[in-house]
Structure formats: C-alpha cells, structure tokens
Symmetry: C2
Subunit: 245 residues, 2 copies
DNA sequence: CCAAAAGTGTTTCTTATACACCCATGT
DNA sequence: ACATGGGTGTATAAGAAACACTTTTGG
C-alpha cells in the first residue's frame, strides 16, 4: 500500500541552531532559486524553511521529524508544534506563484509549523544538496511565502518557553560552562544578566551537576564544566502557581 | 463566486464558559445522536466540540469565529489557536466511523483547535437547535473523535496562560468583586489562595480599578466592585525576563 | 608579566507566605 | 440578634538585584 501526499497540508520546520562560538541563535534556511526559460532572468532567489507535505498515513509529528531527518540526518531533537498557518493568500505573492507553478503545489496549503532545537555544529552544512545555510535569527535574508512570519512567531514562542523550561540545554553541548549558559540566555532573550547572580542561581540547582572536568585548549583560565540532568529536573520539578499579571 | 469547503480541514472550538455562581469552568458541547435505520438501536449518543470545515477563501481564525458565532451568536471573544490535531486515526473509532459515514466527512481531516473564553451566562443554551450544553471541565460526558484530548490540551494551555496574562477577566463580568476573581483562579487552577494576600496583590494593581459601586441584592455585606482596565494594563505592562527553571 | 576570562560575597529591596479576627449588612 | 461573607495588618522568609575586585591560567 503506497501512501499518498496530502496535497493541501504541509509541515514547516524552523530549525534553531545555537552557535556557542559566535553566541548566535541561527535558523537553517534553504535556497530557492529559479531562472526564466531563456536563463536571462532570475525569477526567484531567496530562502525558505524546510518543509514538505504530509503523507496520508502519517501523523503531523512524524512528518515534521521526517522532514528534519532528511535535511539534517538528526533524530530525537527537541521539537514543538507551535502554530498552524493557513491564510488563503499565504502562498500568493507573485514570486511564490511562479515557484509553486514550477512545483505543482496546491495554492491553498495549510502548514503546521514546528520548531526544533539543536547545536549549529551538529549539522553539516557545507556539502548539502538542499543548499541549506545558517542565518542569525536577527539577520535573516529575504524569505519566501509567509516564512518570515513563521520564524518570528517561532522565536517568540521559544523566548517564552526558555524562561519557563530548561530547554536552553537543548541548544548547548552536553558539557558546558556556566558562562556559556548565560551567553545563550543573553543572546536568545536579548538581555544582559548579572554574572554573579546568574552563577549563584544556576549552581544552586540540583540538576546542574559539576563534572570532574575543566575546559581544555583554551588560552586562559579553563572553566569548570557542568551537565544538565533531566532526570533530576523531572524528579524535583514542581509546578508553581504564581500568578504574574 | 461561491466558496467551497476544504474537505480535509476543519476548526474545532473549545468554548470555555465560567459560571460565577457555581464557580465552575464549563465547556460547551453538542449532542451527537444517531439511531439505526429501524430505530431499534442507538448507534451514536455522545457529545462533541463545535467545529466545522474551513472555506477555501477563509482564514483559520475567521473559520473559528464563524463557527462560534453560529453556535453562540457572540463576536469579539478572546480566542486562541492552540494546536493542530491531525493523526491519521483521530476520527476512526467505530462510533466515529458510523457518524462520519452519515455525514460524508473526509476520514483524514486535520483540525485546527481553538479555545474561546466567555461567561456561561452569555450563551442561551435552552432553546438551542444544536442541543448545546455546558459541562464542567472536570466532569465531561462521553466525547466523540479525539475531542477529549483536545479539551484536555486546551485546558492545560489555558491554565498556563491564566498565570501569565490577565485573561481571567475574559471569564468574569465587567464589574466583579475581588473574591470573585479569587474564586475563578481557584476553580480553574485547582488551588487554594490566601484571601488576604490575594486581595492585597490585586488591589495594588493600577489596572484593577475600584468603582463607586457595591454589590446589590445580596443578603450580606455587599462587596466593593472593581473593573479591569486593559488600556492601563497595556500601558504599564513590561515583560519581565525572570528565568524560572 | 600580561591578557583574558573565571570566579567570588555582601547588602538591600522586593515579593511571597503564613496567619486570625472584627465588620457591615440583610433578614 | 444572628448568620454570612467582606474586609483588614503584621511579621517572617525567600528570592532578586545591585555592585567591584581577585584569581587562575596559557602564552
């Protein structure tokens, strides 16, 4: 039994990759390029999110995971379905129409948008068939369809979730320093944090576990390495009902 | 130009209504009833959310608003699109198959789920053609499709949002007492709150405005009435970046 | 010895929490 | 007069915020 694609339903994936070196939150985008038949004009030349239509016998989550796997080769990443985008005119910019015509997509396609969290370094971007490329979330190129809006809303959601859940560690290597965590928060939230207060707060968490290891190969005082224990976190986590209005 | 329905795309609305008298958060559900041809057997007898397919030229938000308007006659309510449900088997319980056969729906329908907030008393439920009825969110009847799951996730989302934004006032009348707000929080979150601390906290907010009015027609000391000013709230609101992990 | 980032303590202030009785009103 | 829910104050604890210098290391 061969499975068919659902012609008007897709998933789109906002792939967030944090670059611990440049301290930059990046988005993985795919080049979209089309020339006129005589090759005299460039009709489409911009970027889009990775995404694809959903199969008839596939859950939305599986579709998103499949798309991500195809692009990055990675599994089991943190993912969140954050919004459905389905405006009738979401694909109907002139440029997008040209593109869709060349691809035989349905004009009224609803897309279920996900975001994924990973480390920029975990994706091989150099020899990539899809011409995938990282862009800082604050400095995106020209984007097709409604993907600028989708990224914006993904980022908003991510920022809120960052404050409430320890998903920052999905963006960092298994072993990290306290300052690296601080840098990640600062970069993603666009804020400054006092180092002494932040250190104290983090080190006091039972699920931030100091390792018997320090940084190596740095030309300065090597920092203490820590890991995050999801097990401990889950065990001691308790919902607080603080009403912050 | 006549608009067609999209056969595999629907919106479903979790209509939350707060009953200030019984202090109960309710969900508005619609009776689903089907007899066999000889009328000897009841084939389907349960409840479902209100929802309907989306028109080709309609946004998802408009579709949800249309569905809600048809059921309740109400406009401009607080609404949130909180999740898309699209499992291949989400409509394929035996009971649901019987129902869908009788309704000619598409078996692989993706639904975009919304929730709406209002006051139970604002909906006339008595002479309703859809056989709509309120049920406490904690005491739901048997539900068709995956609607139990949809309601559960809507409620989870609502609880989180309640803590971060002043949406509680969408569930309360324009003029309310402090204790009514407290009751609403307690009922929705399932917690106990200290009355003195809660009063102080709320009364100190600039956007909780005391009126020159007290309760009337109560057989006890009439309570001071307040209103919520969204304008003031929006003006003085500032994002706090407290990392609570 | 120098550059660079790591690491460290104390004080103040705000906010949450815990807790029990009197008051005003309608009947 | 009484029953009912409305309304009030204080003390403690916890956590957030502000703030500047010393230490350790590799080069």
């Amino acid at each position: 039994m061969k499975s068919e694609l659902i012609s008007n339903l897709s998933v789109d994936c906002v792939v967030f990759g944090y670059d611990i070196i440049t301290k930059s939150l990046n988005v993985l985008l795919i080049k979209r390029y089309l020339e006129s038949e005589d090759k005299k004009d460039v009709l489409v030349n911009d970027y889009v999110l990775t995404g694809y239509h959903v199969f008839e016998d596939e859950t939305l989550d599986k579709a998103a995971e499949r798309v991500l796997k195809e692009l990055t080769g990675l599994n089991n990443l943190y993912k969140k379905q954050f919004k459905a985008f389905g405006d009738p005119d979401r694909l109907t910019n002139p440029k997008d129409l040209i593109w869709i015509e060349s691809q035989k997509f349905n004009l009224r396609t609803i897309t279920i948008a996900y975001y994924f969290l990973l480390k920029t370094e975990d994706v091989e971007v150099t020899d990539n068939v899809s011409k995938a490329k990282w862009f800082p979330v604050g400095d995106l190129p020209e984007l097709g369809f409604d993907h600028k809006q989708i990224i914006k809303e993904a980022y908003e959601d991510l920022k809120i979730k960052c404050l409430a859940e320890p998903i920052i560690f999905e963006l960092l290597p298994d072993k990290f320093t306290i300052n690296e965590v601080q840098d990640a928060y600062q970069s993603i939230l666009g804020i400054e944090i006092d180092n002494r207060n932040f250190r104290r707060k983090l080190i006091n968490k039972k699920y931030i576990i100091p390792l018997d290891e320090k940084q190596v190969g740095v030309s300065k005082k090597p920092a203490q390495l820590y890991m995050f224990s999801k097990d401990v976190y889950d065990k001691i986590f308790q919902k607080n009902y603080l009403i912050s209005i």
